[in-house]
Symmetry: T
Subunit: 144 residues, 12 copies
Amino acid sequence: MRVAVIHGQNLRLLGRREPEVYGTDTLLDVDTLLADLGAELGIELETFQSNHEGEILDFVDEASGRVDGFLINPGALTHTSIGLRDALLGVDRPFVEVHLSNTQARERFRRRSFLSGVATGVVYGFGVESYLLGLRGLAAHIGG
Amino acid sequence: MRVAVIHGQNLRLLGRREPEVYGTDTLLDVDTLLADLGAELGIELETFQSNHEGEILDFVDEASGRVDGFLINPGALTHTSIGLRDALLGVDRPFVEVHLSNTQARERFRRRSFLSGVATGVVYGFGVESYLLGLRGLAAHIGG
Amino acid sequence: MRVAVIHGQNLRLLGRREPEVYGTDTLLDVDTLLADLGAELGIELETFQSNHEGEILDFVDEASGRVDGFLINPGALTHTSIGLRDALLGVDRPFVEVHLSNTQARERFRRRSFLSGVATGVVYGFGVESYLLGLRGLAAHIGG
Amino acid sequence: MRVAVIHGQNLRLLGRREPEVYGTDTLLDVDTLLADLGAELGIELETFQSNHEGEILDFVDEASGRVDGFLINPGALTHTSIGLRDALLGVDRPFVEVHLSNTQARERFRRRSFLSGVATGVVYGFGVESYLLGLRGLAAHIGG
Amino acid sequence: MRVAVIHGQNLRLLGRREPEVYGTDTLLDVDTLLADLGAELGIELETFQSNHEGEILDFVDEASGRVDGFLINPGALTHTSIGLRDALLGVDRPFVEVHLSNTQARERFRRRSFLSGVATGVVYGFGVESYLLGLRGLAAHIGG
Amino acid sequence: MRVAVIHGQNLRLLGRREPEVYGTDTLLDVDTLLADLGAELGIELETFQSNHEGEILDFVDEASGRVDGFLINPGALTHTSIGLRDALLGVDRPFVEVHLSNTQARERFRRRSFLSGVATGVVYGFGVESYLLGLRGLAAHIGG
Amino acid sequence: MRVAVIHGQNLRLLGRREPEVYGTDTLLDVDTLLADLGAELGIELETFQSNHEGEILDFVDEASGRVDGFLINPGALTHTSIGLRDALLGVDRPFVEVHLSNTQARERFRRRSFLSGVATGVVYGFGVESYLLGLRGLAAHIGG
Amino acid sequence: MRVAVIHGQNLRLLGRREPEVYGTDTLLDVDTLLADLGAELGIELETFQSNHEGEILDFVDEASGRVDGFLINPGALTHTSIGLRDALLGVDRPFVEVHLSNTQARERFRRRSFLSGVATGVVYGFGVESYLLGLRGLAAHIGG
Amino acid sequence: MRVAVIHGQNLRLLGRREPEVYGTDTLLDVDTLLADLGAELGIELETFQSNHEGEILDFVDEASGRVDGFLINPGALTHTSIGLRDALLGVDRPFVEVHLSNTQARERFRRRSFLSGVATGVVYGFGVESYLLGLRGLAAHIGG
Amino acid sequence: MRVAVIHGQNLRLLGRREPEVYGTDTLLDVDTLLADLGAELGIELETFQSNHEGEILDFVDEASGRVDGFLINPGALTHTSIGLRDALLGVDRPFVEVHLSNTQARERFRRRSFLSGVATGVVYGFGVESYLLGLRGLAAHIGG
Amino acid sequence: MRVAVIHGQNLRLLGRREPEVYGTDTLLDVDTLLADLGAELGIELETFQSNHEGEILDFVDEASGRVDGFLINPGALTHTSIGLRDALLGVDRPFVEVHLSNTQARERFRRRSFLSGVATGVVYGFGVESYLLGLRGLAAHIGG
Amino acid sequence: MRVAVIHGQNLRLLGRREPEVYGTDTLLDVDTLLADLGAELGIELETFQSNHEGEILDFVDEASGRVDGFLINPGALTHTSIGLRDALLGVDRPFVEVHLSNTQARERFRRRSFLSGVATGVVYGFGVESYLLGLRGLAAHIGG
């Protein structure tokens, strides 16, 4: 089983950015935890970060031929990118949407996700643990 | 660590009810899987099911003295009960909200949850796996 | 053919409650008229009244094994209970929704019914006659 | 007792038009069933079909002098014609609104009826049976 | 100066229809009063009544060649007919919109007029006097 | 018969203010034309102008004992003052609302009037002629 | 004079629940203060608490025969229960709605009350004092 | 303890204005009853009435130095004046908002108050008694 | 291949009506251009114009037996007629919707079309060319 | 070059009022800083403060003959006064709108300004510096 | 005549992506068909595809100097990019918007296009034929 | 003090693009004026332009380590980019938002800015002067 992990807009700032919202773990910490869990579950992982919507669309297209699913934290693109929704639908792979923070407890414009309605499953609010739960859920779905 | 699992409205119908939406596992199957995972993680579990909003409020009040958190699938009360939100806030225990189906991919009136904004974390769309991921997330939160 | 008649919130007050809206017949009068029509149409009837949403959900679940359909006047639950909609969908039996008054001619919050969109048919505005027409319609649907 | 039955826009297509929504009975079948029930209940019936809002307004005006009530399925005019509401209010005769399909289970723009709030009663979702129940309800109202 | 007076939907019912809203004058009374005022002001009048939106559009087109303006009470078409707005704009003649009743004091759906924003002027709420004031206003506008 | 004419906010600017909207007549011109028509109709007039909502409320209260009705162009208070509505309702005198311009053809926030729904009648869009038509309409109403 | 005091959802948690919002008085403290004031004003009181909407509807029905009015703090049912509104209207007794906190200063979904529009009077924001003021107001109304 | 009582727009009309809504007591009656209760509770009162928003803002500013709180019935300014909200917040004194009528049972535009969300407490619907309850509540708050 | 061309409300005014919006070609010019293109593409055309919604519904019904598709510019009925949508769906023939002007660049009420969501394709904004492109598109669809 | 500075509702409270929002400078401090900058830029200034909308309208009218532009902080009138918009448009002088606080970061009802859409320019969020930037901007506009 | 064809987000997936919505032609097929039609009509074409909003803005800027118009299928950017609208307006070249699918028959968020209101014309719903019709329309417009 | 100036989408078109809205100055002119003012105020400036949201996010991240604040005109990203808001919040530097045109006087979709609510201050409507005022305001804030 092979899974691509996508970190969207501003996730490079993790650990520095609004730590009372996002915690103090860095993106490297997240990737290390995911790698450990991937190893435990027998999943090959590749990770990708970009602040560019277009690069993420390109990546989804290109990676779709070699992975069984996507684990994605789109950052702010969650709420603004219909293109990302179309790309994920277009390549016909299961994907799981995760968020570090509880997006329903923040600004009103974060309540709407263009992805949730077409995702396999959604996990949010658990900090870095959201990624780990999401990977487990995706593995269960693909393996199921 | 001790956790109360609450199954809300109509979950008694699980396995019989709209299987294309909710799958064929019964509530007993869910509880068995949760018990196994609880044992693995060292969590004592108690479970409660009711179709009555009032009974669930009573239970939250009464159980709050002996548990460290709640894992709750409120069923349709998710979208209608402010009282449940108030009860969970009132007893000051962390709780995780889970749903079997992808509530964002269904009717419009299922998009709003009175609980999500005050939950520790939220998991939905993975079928029975949603409960297991939710329990892991709650355990990580309490244990963390 | 066997049909369960459900009288929801506050219907116990019938005859006493806002007679300019609901008329002077009591719930007993309604049940007598229904019994007569049931006898004429060869339908076995059982009736149930409760002010408790949870009790009605329990009843729908429990009765669904022995009846061919439901005739229901949910009272105010019409406008507030998604759980009732889920229960009726969950047991997979046809049901007819009836109201004594013309709910479209009253307060704005009575305009929306969570049941109508999934009902076999809907009858309202005819006073007690609404129940009788609803029973005929349900019988025709089941018998048809 | 004399009742005018009005079939509004596109009902001439009945039997040919979207049979999965409207069934395979033709307008002639409907009128035959109504005639039989009218005879049984001792009601003189006259029927009128038009795709023209203006012709229906003219008919309501002209027929109002000789009938005790109207049974009307306005078709799409239900959702667009305030003139029809005004005409029926203006001639001061009771009327019952019926629909073959469950209008609440279809497109959003079919949810609003300009007639329901001023009708004696409303029946929908029972297919052709809606007309028969509507006629019974109207008769009970006039006779009551 | 020549003016066409258009009476729209249901105005034929005037005097019989909801007299507490529309008064007891008949359409003939209105036309007589208008004729008298027209004579006083030196205006040639022709009047037209129809319940058919299409006939009114045809009339606007056909009459536009011989009149200097229109005085129109569209009845319920006020709130539903964009075609009437387009016709009146299309023939490029000034028109005045009048209503017997105070349309802002009635149902919410009567608040919006598709004509008012493109009318020369609007008069409502004065009963039959609304027509007379409207004719004076139109005459002043054309003559001005 | 005695009528108070109220000119509301910014009407002192008339003739100087946005002449393409309001024309070149001054407030004095308006008052002269009203005086002439008042003389013709046998109406005693008094006029009042203020930019202060409070002064207008005081005036309505104080003048109500000596006049039979009000002719009012509230200016921008039309859209913002519930107090003016309450004052006019409170003194229980008929009043007519007039506007020089066609308020429905301008900014969206000019579409709503707090007065129209409780006015005897409304006239707008005819320029200065609106006042004259309004006075005629008020006289007809009081005299009628 | 006899008054029933109803404490709705979650009020059993008072003193423990979000003390920065609801204060530290317990429900027993509230009832003691009410009893003292009742004695002073010569009012017989009975009190009832339930988290179950249905039980409160049953109580309103049953108690209505022996009391002159209701003093009610519905808790979260304020915002969700049309059935409670119907019950209180149905038994035709005056009632006063009270809240400890200022419900208008909290979440948006607490702004709407299904009861306020049919209550005799409403008091909120004074903490426990809200109950005492409400009882005085109810007594004045009944006694007045 | 010293309290300023503010009567806002149109309250001078009390006793004359819409007595079916506001009752027959005059403003003098209200002030007399308040004076009596003030004497009983040991509160010095000063009262102020104005129809001018600006005068009330000036008064709030000027009086704030000598009073411990405000009791205010803003009349229609309740629904339109953000300036009044700002003034009361700006002088940092507790205030209680009262209304004679049940504002939630009237026009839709009376449902929103710019003051309620920042008031100490709110009382409405009890007629003149609303003022007395409000004064008691304010006294309890200041004294508490 | 046979196609019916329908010109809806006010299109008879073409060439005279708001030429800055609709251009100076007349309906005859449009029909001539369509005839030429029809000849080129081997399509038999028949054309129909009416200002009457009812006549268009009748025509759709009657013509549907002899044509392979419809090319329709409904005029203002685009935005108001659900009956037209129902008729076109009811006869089960492909249809293409065209407009001369760019309806998205005009008044807000022209943005919604009841037809577009069920049309084969839509073309607008190209003036008379819109008809020609629409005919080509319809031919490609039917022929494809 | 001559500029009138208008301070609207509650600005007299500056320095005392919610200092965490508005800072500790008084209105006198603001005027002193403006005078210094005016001297530097060669602008004659006059300043005006009022809590009365009407007085500000009067001032705009009266001052417009002698100034080249207005610098205005309307306070809460920003969000409620259409009359102020009309006055500033009516006198045909450029004006700049300024706010001390960031009005977009506060309550929802402060988001809408009736002035911004017709202002030359808008500056907010810089505290007292907003006035100085606004004056520079106005000077550049008038001088440019 | 020279035209630039822009294929926006995800169009590279054409032929693979949701074929029930978008058909089985690839982007290469589209470009070949366009080239053939371009040759027939004497139009030089250049084509550009990108998933990056920024790259498309850059291209519009850069190409605008050498082309007479744009033919654009923006993909999901249709609904989210105001920048694309601004770029096309900014370079002042006519452009035609095309879509393969009927965007009005899909999700609600696809109903709004930021481009349509400023486009020369719009074509959608005809599959690949939409591009060909769009090119014809653009050529007619430029050539006209 | 060091400040980064960011020019967002389409600002490269300045001077060519819609000159009636944006004026005839080019981006080079803007940068020259900013450089002059920067020199006068002792501020080191660096400037950045991109049409790519992702590049701007990258730049904000990378530049944040070496600057004291940002001066940003996001162009159309103002209204669509939540990612830009998150980036600016995430690097925890003050920023000022500027616009050349009066965005409140243009299309409705330009009224909402995702940045304004978290900006230090906002300046718009003064043309190129907006940048200069914004730089002064930012300098005062940082220096203050």
